[in-house]
Symmetry: C2
Subunit: 191 residues, 2 copies
DNA sequence: CGGTCTCTTGACGGAGTTCAAAGCTAGTGG
DNA sequence: CCACTAGCTTTGAACTCCGTCAAGAGACCG
Protein backbone atom coordinates (compact mmCIF):
# COMPACT_ATOMS: atom_id res chain seq x y z
CA UNK A 1 0.00 0.00 0.00
CA UNK A 2 2.84 2.36 0.78
CA UNK A 3 4.40 1.95 -2.67
CA UNK A 4 1.15 3.13 -4.23
CA UNK A 5 1.14 6.15 -1.97
CA UNK A 6 4.79 6.87 -2.81
CA UNK A 7 4.02 6.78 -6.52
CA UNK A 8 1.21 9.23 -5.91
CA UNK A 9 3.40 11.61 -3.89
CA UNK A 10 5.99 11.57 -6.67
CA UNK A 11 3.47 13.16 -9.01
CA UNK A 12 3.39 16.29 -6.84
CA UNK A 13 6.67 16.57 -4.91
CA UNK A 14 10.26 15.33 -5.06
CA UNK A 15 11.11 13.37 -1.99
CA UNK A 16 14.04 11.20 -0.83
CA UNK A 17 13.61 7.56 0.12
CA UNK A 18 14.62 8.31 3.74
CA UNK A 19 12.16 11.17 4.10
CA UNK A 20 9.41 8.97 2.70
CA UNK A 21 10.15 6.35 5.34
CA UNK A 22 9.89 9.03 8.04
CA UNK A 23 6.64 10.31 6.53
CA UNK A 24 5.04 6.89 6.24
CA UNK A 25 5.35 6.42 10.02
CA UNK A 26 2.56 8.96 10.39
CA UNK A 27 0.11 6.72 8.54
CA UNK A 28 -1.62 3.49 9.41
CA UNK A 29 -2.57 0.82 6.88
CA UNK A 30 -5.90 -0.94 6.96
CA UNK A 31 -7.82 -3.50 4.89
CA UNK A 32 -11.58 -3.46 5.06
CA UNK A 33 -14.22 -5.81 3.67
CA UNK A 34 -17.02 -4.63 1.39
CA UNK A 35 -19.95 -2.72 2.96
CA UNK A 36 -18.28 -1.82 6.24
CA UNK A 37 -18.45 1.63 7.79
CA UNK A 38 -15.22 3.52 8.43
CA UNK A 39 -17.16 6.44 9.84
CA UNK A 40 -20.70 6.76 11.18
CA UNK A 41 -23.02 9.68 11.86
CA UNK A 42 -22.47 11.22 15.28
CA UNK A 43 -18.86 10.04 15.63
CA UNK A 44 -15.95 12.42 15.82
CA UNK A 45 -14.22 12.41 12.46
CA UNK A 46 -10.70 11.44 13.42
CA UNK A 47 -9.10 10.18 10.23
CA UNK A 48 -8.39 11.15 6.65
CA UNK A 49 -8.46 8.11 4.31
CA UNK A 50 -6.32 7.44 1.25
CA UNK A 51 -7.52 4.66 -1.05
CA UNK A 52 -4.72 2.37 -2.32
CA UNK A 53 -7.09 -0.18 -3.80
CA UNK A 54 -10.86 -0.37 -3.76
CA UNK A 55 -13.74 2.05 -3.56
CA UNK A 56 -15.36 4.17 -0.85
CA UNK A 57 -18.53 6.20 -0.76
CA UNK A 58 -19.65 8.97 1.56
CA UNK A 59 -23.35 9.41 2.30
CA UNK A 60 -25.78 10.82 4.82
CA UNK A 61 -29.28 9.76 5.80
CA UNK A 62 -31.94 12.38 5.14
CA UNK A 63 -35.05 13.03 7.25
CA UNK A 64 -36.99 10.43 5.24
CA UNK A 65 -34.44 7.77 6.10
CA UNK A 66 -33.01 7.62 2.58
CA UNK A 67 -29.25 7.32 2.00
CA UNK A 68 -27.87 10.17 -0.11
CA UNK A 69 -24.44 9.46 -1.58
CA UNK A 70 -22.45 12.65 -2.05
CA UNK A 71 -19.09 11.27 -3.14
CA UNK A 72 -17.15 8.24 -4.34
CA UNK A 73 -13.40 7.74 -3.85
CA UNK A 74 -11.33 5.34 -5.95
CA UNK A 75 -7.62 4.61 -6.04
CA UNK A 76 -5.38 7.60 -5.24
CA UNK A 77 -8.14 9.77 -3.80
CA UNK A 78 -8.51 11.03 -0.28
CA UNK A 79 -11.80 10.94 1.57
CA UNK A 80 -13.06 12.23 4.88
CA UNK A 81 -15.74 14.60 6.15
CA UNK A 82 -13.39 17.53 5.68
CA UNK A 83 -15.47 19.97 7.67
CA UNK A 84 -15.75 17.73 10.73
CA UNK A 85 -12.14 16.59 10.35
CA UNK A 86 -10.75 20.10 10.26
CA UNK A 87 -12.67 21.32 13.28
CA UNK A 88 -12.76 17.95 15.05
CA UNK A 89 -16.55 17.95 15.21
CA UNK A 90 -19.14 15.21 15.10
CA UNK A 91 -19.96 14.18 11.57
CA UNK A 92 -23.30 13.94 9.79
CA UNK A 93 -21.87 11.44 7.29
CA UNK A 94 -21.11 7.77 6.87
CA UNK A 95 -18.07 6.54 4.97
CA UNK A 96 -18.53 3.01 3.68
CA UNK A 97 -16.56 0.57 1.53
CA UNK A 98 -18.27 -0.36 -1.73
CA UNK A 99 -15.64 -3.05 -2.49
CA UNK A 100 -12.98 -4.76 -0.38
CA UNK A 101 -10.58 -1.88 0.13
CA UNK A 102 -6.94 -1.29 1.12
CA UNK A 103 -6.29 2.11 2.58
CA UNK A 104 -3.93 4.33 4.51
CA UNK A 105 -5.26 6.73 7.08
CA UNK A 106 -3.88 9.51 9.20
CA UNK A 107 -5.34 11.12 12.31
CA UNK A 108 -5.85 14.87 12.56
CA UNK A 109 -3.24 15.50 15.27
CA UNK A 110 -0.67 13.41 13.43
CA UNK A 111 -1.39 15.20 10.16
CA UNK A 112 -0.70 18.51 11.91
CA UNK A 113 2.63 17.19 13.19
CA UNK A 114 3.47 15.72 9.79
CA UNK A 115 3.00 19.15 8.22
CA UNK A 116 5.16 20.83 10.87
CA UNK A 117 7.99 18.34 10.61
CA UNK A 118 7.83 17.90 6.83
CA UNK A 119 6.92 21.25 5.25
CA UNK A 120 7.21 19.64 1.83
CA UNK A 121 3.92 17.95 2.62
CA UNK A 122 2.27 21.39 2.72
CA UNK A 123 2.86 21.55 -1.01
CA UNK A 124 1.48 18.05 -1.52
CA UNK A 125 -1.71 18.78 0.37
CA UNK A 126 -2.04 22.22 -1.20
CA UNK A 127 -2.04 20.50 -4.61
CA UNK A 128 -4.48 17.83 -3.45
CA UNK A 129 -6.97 20.30 -1.98
CA UNK A 130 -6.63 22.68 -4.90
CA UNK A 131 -7.42 19.91 -7.34
CA UNK A 132 -10.28 18.58 -5.20
CA UNK A 133 -11.74 22.09 -4.84
CA UNK A 134 -11.58 22.73 -8.58
CA UNK A 135 -13.26 19.39 -9.30
CA UNK A 136 -16.01 20.09 -6.77
CA UNK A 137 -16.69 23.49 -8.30
CA UNK A 138 -17.17 21.92 -11.71
CA UNK A 139 -19.48 19.40 -10.09
CA UNK A 140 -21.60 22.22 -8.66
CA UNK A 141 -21.77 23.76 -12.11
CA UNK A 142 -23.13 20.49 -13.51
CA UNK A 143 -25.68 20.22 -10.69
CA UNK A 144 -27.00 23.65 -11.71
CA UNK A 145 -26.70 23.16 -15.44
CA UNK A 146 -28.10 19.70 -16.05
CA UNK A 147 -31.43 17.99 -15.54
CA UNK A 148 -31.25 14.72 -13.62
CA UNK A 149 -31.39 12.81 -16.88
CA UNK A 150 -28.53 14.86 -18.35
CA UNK A 151 -26.56 14.32 -15.13
CA UNK A 152 -26.84 10.60 -15.69
CA UNK A 153 -25.59 10.78 -19.27
CA UNK A 154 -22.78 13.09 -18.24
CA UNK A 155 -21.83 10.68 -15.46
CA UNK A 156 -21.74 7.76 -17.91
CA UNK A 157 -19.54 9.69 -20.30
CA UNK A 158 -17.13 11.20 -17.79
CA UNK A 159 -16.89 8.45 -15.15
CA UNK A 160 -17.43 5.17 -17.03
CA UNK A 161 -15.16 3.27 -14.63
CA UNK A 162 -17.90 3.53 -11.98
CA UNK A 163 -20.58 1.92 -14.12
CA UNK A 164 -18.78 -1.42 -13.86
CA UNK A 165 -17.99 -1.17 -10.16
CA UNK A 166 -21.03 0.46 -8.56
CA UNK A 167 -24.59 -0.96 -8.39
CA UNK A 168 -27.35 1.10 -9.98
CA UNK A 169 -29.10 2.11 -6.80
CA UNK A 170 -25.88 3.76 -5.59
CA UNK A 171 -25.49 5.64 -8.86
CA UNK A 172 -29.07 6.83 -8.46
CA UNK A 173 -28.26 7.90 -4.91
CA UNK A 174 -25.17 9.79 -6.14
CA UNK A 175 -27.16 11.53 -8.87
CA UNK A 176 -29.83 12.54 -6.37
CA UNK A 177 -32.62 10.57 -8.05
CA UNK A 178 -34.72 7.56 -7.14
CA UNK A 179 -33.77 4.10 -8.44
CA UNK A 180 -37.18 4.02 -10.15
CA UNK A 181 -36.46 7.13 -12.16
CA UNK A 182 -32.99 5.95 -13.11
CA UNK A 183 -34.53 2.74 -14.38
CA UNK A 184 -36.95 4.80 -16.48
CA UNK A 185 -34.13 6.89 -17.96
CA UNK A 186 -32.16 3.80 -18.91
CA UNK A 187 -35.17 2.19 -20.56
CA UNK A 188 -35.80 5.35 -22.58
CA UNK A 189 -32.28 5.20 -24.03
CA UNK A 190 -32.13 1.52 -24.91
CA UNK A 191 -35.23 1.63 -27.08
CA UNK B 1 -5.92 46.91 0.36
CA UNK B 2 -2.61 45.30 1.26
CA UNK B 3 -3.18 45.82 5.01
CA UNK B 4 -6.40 43.83 4.75
CA UNK B 5 -4.56 41.04 2.99
CA UNK B 6 -1.79 41.12 5.62
CA UNK B 7 -4.36 40.79 8.41
CA UNK B 8 -5.82 37.82 6.59
CA UNK B 9 -2.45 36.13 6.12
CA UNK B 10 -1.73 36.58 9.84
CA UNK B 11 -4.65 34.31 10.65
CA UNK B 12 -2.89 31.39 8.94
CA UNK B 13 0.86 31.97 8.98
CA UNK B 14 3.50 33.98 10.88
CA UNK B 15 5.35 36.28 8.56
CA UNK B 16 7.88 39.11 8.92
CA UNK B 17 7.18 42.60 7.65
CA UNK B 18 10.03 42.33 5.12
CA UNK B 19 8.82 39.03 3.73
CA UNK B 20 5.32 40.46 3.40
CA UNK B 21 6.69 43.34 1.33
CA UNK B 22 8.46 40.85 -0.93
CA UNK B 23 5.30 38.79 -1.23
CA UNK B 24 3.04 41.71 -2.01
CA UNK B 25 5.13 42.51 -5.10
CA UNK B 26 3.59 39.43 -6.70
CA UNK B 27 0.10 40.93 -6.49
CA UNK B 28 -1.63 43.74 -8.33
CA UNK B 29 -4.31 45.96 -6.80
CA UNK B 30 -7.44 46.93 -8.71
CA UNK B 31 -10.66 48.85 -8.07
CA UNK B 32 -13.70 47.98 -10.14
CA UNK B 33 -17.13 49.59 -10.45
CA UNK B 34 -20.35 47.67 -9.88
CA UNK B 35 -21.52 45.24 -12.59
CA UNK B 36 -18.27 44.96 -14.49
CA UNK B 37 -16.82 41.67 -15.68
CA UNK B 38 -13.39 40.61 -14.47
CA UNK B 39 -13.60 37.41 -16.49
CA UNK B 40 -15.79 36.40 -19.43
CA UNK B 41 -16.68 33.08 -21.02
CA UNK B 42 -14.13 31.92 -23.57
CA UNK B 43 -11.22 33.91 -22.11
CA UNK B 44 -8.19 32.26 -20.61
CA UNK B 45 -8.48 32.44 -16.84
CA UNK B 46 -5.27 34.22 -15.92
CA UNK B 47 -5.88 35.60 -12.44
CA UNK B 48 -6.92 34.59 -8.96
CA UNK B 49 -8.87 37.38 -7.19
CA UNK B 50 -8.81 38.31 -3.50
CA UNK B 51 -11.62 40.62 -2.33
CA UNK B 52 -10.47 43.38 0.07
CA UNK B 53 -13.76 45.23 -0.04
CA UNK B 54 -16.92 44.58 -2.01
CA UNK B 55 -18.65 41.58 -3.52
CA UNK B 56 -18.13 39.33 -6.56
CA UNK B 57 -20.25 36.65 -8.13
CA UNK B 58 -19.35 33.87 -10.51
CA UNK B 59 -21.93 32.67 -13.03
CA UNK B 60 -22.33 30.92 -16.34
CA UNK B 61 -24.95 31.20 -19.06
CA UNK B 62 -26.91 28.02 -19.70
CA UNK B 63 -28.23 26.82 -23.05
CA UNK B 64 -31.48 28.78 -22.52
CA UNK B 65 -29.50 32.00 -22.10
CA UNK B 66 -30.17 32.23 -18.35
CA UNK B 67 -27.43 33.34 -15.94
CA UNK B 68 -26.74 30.74 -13.24
CA UNK B 69 -24.82 32.12 -10.26
CA UNK B 70 -22.69 29.43 -8.64
CA UNK B 71 -20.78 31.46 -6.06
CA UNK B 72 -20.47 34.76 -4.23
CA UNK B 73 -17.23 36.12 -2.75
CA UNK B 74 -17.13 38.77 -0.04
CA UNK B 75 -14.26 40.32 1.90
CA UNK B 76 -11.32 37.97 2.54
CA UNK B 77 -12.39 35.33 0.04
CA UNK B 78 -10.60 34.24 -3.10
CA UNK B 79 -12.39 33.71 -6.37
CA UNK B 80 -11.45 32.39 -9.77
CA UNK B 81 -12.46 29.58 -12.09
CA UNK B 82 -10.10 27.20 -10.30
CA UNK B 83 -10.26 24.50 -12.92
CA UNK B 84 -9.43 26.81 -15.83
CA UNK B 85 -6.89 28.71 -13.71
CA UNK B 86 -4.98 25.60 -12.71
CA UNK B 87 -4.76 24.17 -16.19
CA UNK B 88 -4.70 27.56 -17.97
CA UNK B 89 -7.74 26.71 -20.05
CA UNK B 90 -10.57 28.78 -21.49
CA UNK B 91 -13.30 29.39 -18.93
CA UNK B 92 -17.03 28.75 -19.14
CA UNK B 93 -17.69 31.34 -16.41
CA UNK B 94 -18.11 35.03 -15.90
CA UNK B 95 -16.85 36.80 -12.78
CA UNK B 96 -18.67 40.06 -12.14
CA UNK B 97 -18.69 42.74 -9.44
CA UNK B 98 -22.01 43.03 -7.57
CA UNK B 99 -20.84 46.18 -5.74
CA UNK B 100 -17.93 48.58 -6.28
CA UNK B 101 -15.03 46.35 -5.32
CA UNK B 102 -11.37 46.68 -4.25
CA UNK B 103 -9.31 43.61 -4.95
CA UNK B 104 -5.87 42.09 -5.28
CA UNK B 105 -5.10 39.61 -7.99
CA UNK B 106 -2.25 37.36 -8.94
CA UNK B 107 -1.50 35.66 -12.25
CA UNK B 108 -0.94 31.93 -12.49
CA UNK B 109 2.76 32.08 -13.44
CA UNK B 110 3.46 34.57 -10.68
CA UNK B 111 1.60 32.46 -8.13
CA UNK B 112 3.81 29.50 -9.07
CA UNK B 113 6.93 31.62 -8.55
CA UNK B 114 5.54 33.02 -5.29
CA UNK B 115 5.13 29.48 -3.98
CA UNK B 116 8.65 28.51 -5.06
CA UNK B 117 10.32 31.54 -3.52
CA UNK B 118 8.15 31.70 -0.37
CA UNK B 119 7.35 28.13 0.70
CA UNK B 120 5.48 29.54 3.69
CA UNK B 121 2.76 30.49 1.23
CA UNK B 122 2.23 26.78 0.52
CA UNK B 123 0.83 26.52 4.01
CA UNK B 124 -1.36 29.58 3.53
CA UNK B 125 -2.87 28.28 0.31
CA UNK B 126 -3.16 24.76 1.71
CA UNK B 127 -5.32 26.21 4.51
CA UNK B 128 -7.34 28.34 2.09
CA UNK B 129 -8.08 25.47 -0.28
CA UNK B 130 -8.77 23.04 2.54
CA UNK B 131 -11.32 25.41 4.05
CA UNK B 132 -12.86 26.20 0.67
CA UNK B 133 -13.09 22.50 -0.18
CA UNK B 134 -14.74 21.66 3.15
CA UNK B 135 -17.27 24.49 2.70
CA UNK B 136 -18.09 23.35 -0.83
CA UNK B 137 -18.67 19.79 0.34
CA UNK B 138 -21.18 21.00 2.93
CA UNK B 139 -22.83 23.02 0.19
CA UNK B 140 -23.19 19.90 -1.95
CA UNK B 141 -24.78 18.14 1.01
CA UNK B 142 -27.36 20.92 1.29
CA UNK B 143 -28.07 20.79 -2.44
CA UNK B 144 -28.90 17.09 -2.03
CA UNK B 145 -30.69 17.39 1.28
CA UNK B 146 -32.97 20.39 0.84
CA UNK B 147 -35.84 21.31 -1.43
CA UNK B 148 -35.49 24.67 -3.16
CA UNK B 149 -37.71 26.25 -0.53
CA UNK B 150 -35.61 24.82 2.30
CA UNK B 151 -32.44 26.00 0.51
CA UNK B 152 -33.81 29.53 0.63
CA UNK B 153 -34.58 29.37 4.37
CA UNK B 154 -31.20 27.84 5.06
CA UNK B 155 -29.54 30.58 3.02
CA UNK B 156 -31.39 33.29 4.99
CA UNK B 157 -30.34 31.75 8.30
CA UNK B 158 -26.72 30.99 7.48
CA UNK B 159 -25.80 33.88 5.17
CA UNK B 160 -27.95 36.84 6.30
CA UNK B 161 -25.26 39.34 5.28
CA UNK B 162 -26.09 38.66 1.62
CA UNK B 163 -29.79 39.48 1.98
CA UNK B 164 -28.91 43.13 2.48
CA UNK B 165 -26.32 43.33 -0.25
CA UNK B 166 -27.63 41.16 -3.09
CA UNK B 167 -30.81 41.76 -5.15
CA UNK B 168 -33.45 39.05 -5.08
CA UNK B 169 -33.04 37.86 -8.63
CA UNK B 170 -29.38 37.06 -7.93
CA UNK B 171 -30.32 35.12 -4.81
CA UNK B 172 -32.80 33.16 -6.94
CA UNK B 173 -30.05 32.55 -9.47
CA UNK B 174 -27.70 31.32 -6.72
CA UNK B 175 -30.35 28.99 -5.30
CA UNK B 176 -31.03 27.59 -8.76
CA UNK B 177 -34.66 28.74 -8.88
CA UNK B 178 -36.63 31.26 -10.92
CA UNK B 179 -37.31 34.74 -9.51
CA UNK B 180 -41.02 33.92 -9.81
CA UNK B 181 -40.75 30.91 -7.54
CA UNK B 182 -38.64 32.79 -5.01
CA UNK B 183 -41.31 35.45 -4.90
CA UNK B 184 -43.91 32.75 -4.22
CA UNK B 185 -41.83 31.26 -1.39
CA UNK B 186 -41.43 34.66 0.25
CA UNK B 187 -45.14 35.39 0.00
CA UNK B 188 -45.96 32.04 1.60
CA UNK B 189 -43.85 32.90 4.64
CA UNK B 190 -45.04 36.45 5.24
CA UNK B 191 -48.70 35.47 5.45
C1' DC C 1 -41.43 62.34 -15.41
C1' DG C 2 -40.48 58.61 -18.74
C1' DG C 3 -38.07 54.26 -19.34
C1' DT C 4 -35.71 50.38 -17.93
C1' DC C 5 -34.81 47.13 -14.32
C1' DT C 6 -36.82 44.43 -10.56
C1' DC C 7 -40.46 42.04 -8.10
C1' DT C 8 -45.12 39.91 -7.89
C1' DT C 9 -49.34 37.14 -9.46
C1' DG C 10 -51.75 33.40 -11.53
C1' DA C 11 -52.79 29.57 -14.97
C1' DC C 12 -50.80 25.68 -16.95
C1' DG C 13 -47.39 21.97 -17.93
C1' DG C 14 -43.66 18.69 -17.25
C1' DA C 15 -39.73 16.50 -14.84
C1' DG C 16 -39.12 13.69 -11.23
C1' DT C 17 -41.19 11.41 -6.70
C1' DT C 18 -44.04 8.13 -4.17
C1' DC C 19 -46.17 3.91 -3.47
C1' DA C 20 -47.17 -0.79 -4.45
C1' DA C 21 -46.12 -4.90 -6.67
C1' DA C 22 -43.76 -8.09 -9.57
C1' DG C 23 -39.48 -9.91 -11.83
C1' DC C 24 -34.62 -10.71 -11.59
C1' DT C 25 -29.81 -11.85 -9.70
C1' DA C 26 -26.30 -13.17 -6.80
C1' DG C 27 -24.63 -14.93 -2.68
C1' DT C 28 -25.18 -18.51 0.91
C1' DG C 29 -25.83 -22.83 3.05
C1' DG C 30 -26.93 -27.47 2.67
C1' DC D 1 -24.27 -27.84 -7.57
C1' DC D 2 -28.77 -26.69 -6.67
C1' DA D 3 -32.42 -24.14 -4.05
C1' DC D 4 -33.64 -20.34 -1.26
C1' DT D 5 -33.67 -15.90 0.09
C1' DA D 6 -32.57 -11.15 0.41
C1' DG D 7 -31.38 -7.50 -2.12
C1' DC D 8 -31.60 -5.22 -6.53
C1' DT D 9 -34.18 -3.61 -10.73
C1' DT D 10 -38.25 -2.70 -13.40
C1' DT D 11 -43.25 -1.14 -14.23
C1' DG D 12 -47.09 1.81 -13.93
C1' DA D 13 -50.47 5.20 -11.87
C1' DA D 14 -51.18 9.16 -9.09
C1' DC D 15 -49.24 13.17 -7.32
C1' DT D 16 -46.07 17.47 -6.30
C1' DC D 17 -42.68 20.76 -6.79
C1' DC D 18 -41.11 24.00 -9.55
C1' DG D 19 -40.56 26.07 -14.35
C1' DT D 20 -42.74 28.69 -18.22
C1' DC D 21 -45.29 32.26 -20.03
C1' DA D 22 -47.69 36.48 -19.94
C1' DA D 23 -48.93 40.51 -17.77
C1' DG D 24 -48.98 44.04 -14.31
C1' DA D 25 -47.05 46.81 -10.34
C1' DG D 26 -43.15 49.03 -8.15
C1' DA D 27 -38.71 51.16 -7.89
C1' DC D 28 -34.74 53.48 -9.36
C1' DC D 29 -32.05 56.59 -12.46
C1' DG D 30 -31.14 60.00 -15.82
Amino acid sequence: MFQIFKAHLDKFITISEEEFVAISRFFEAKSVKKKENLLEEGQHCKSNYFVSKGLLRKFFINEKGVEQTTQFAIENWWMTDDFAYEHQLKTAFYIQTVEDTDLLHIRKDRQSRLLEEHPLMEKYFRCIYQRAYAATQMRIKFLYDFSREELYHHFCRSQPQFLQRVPQYLIASYLGITPEYLSEIRKRNVS
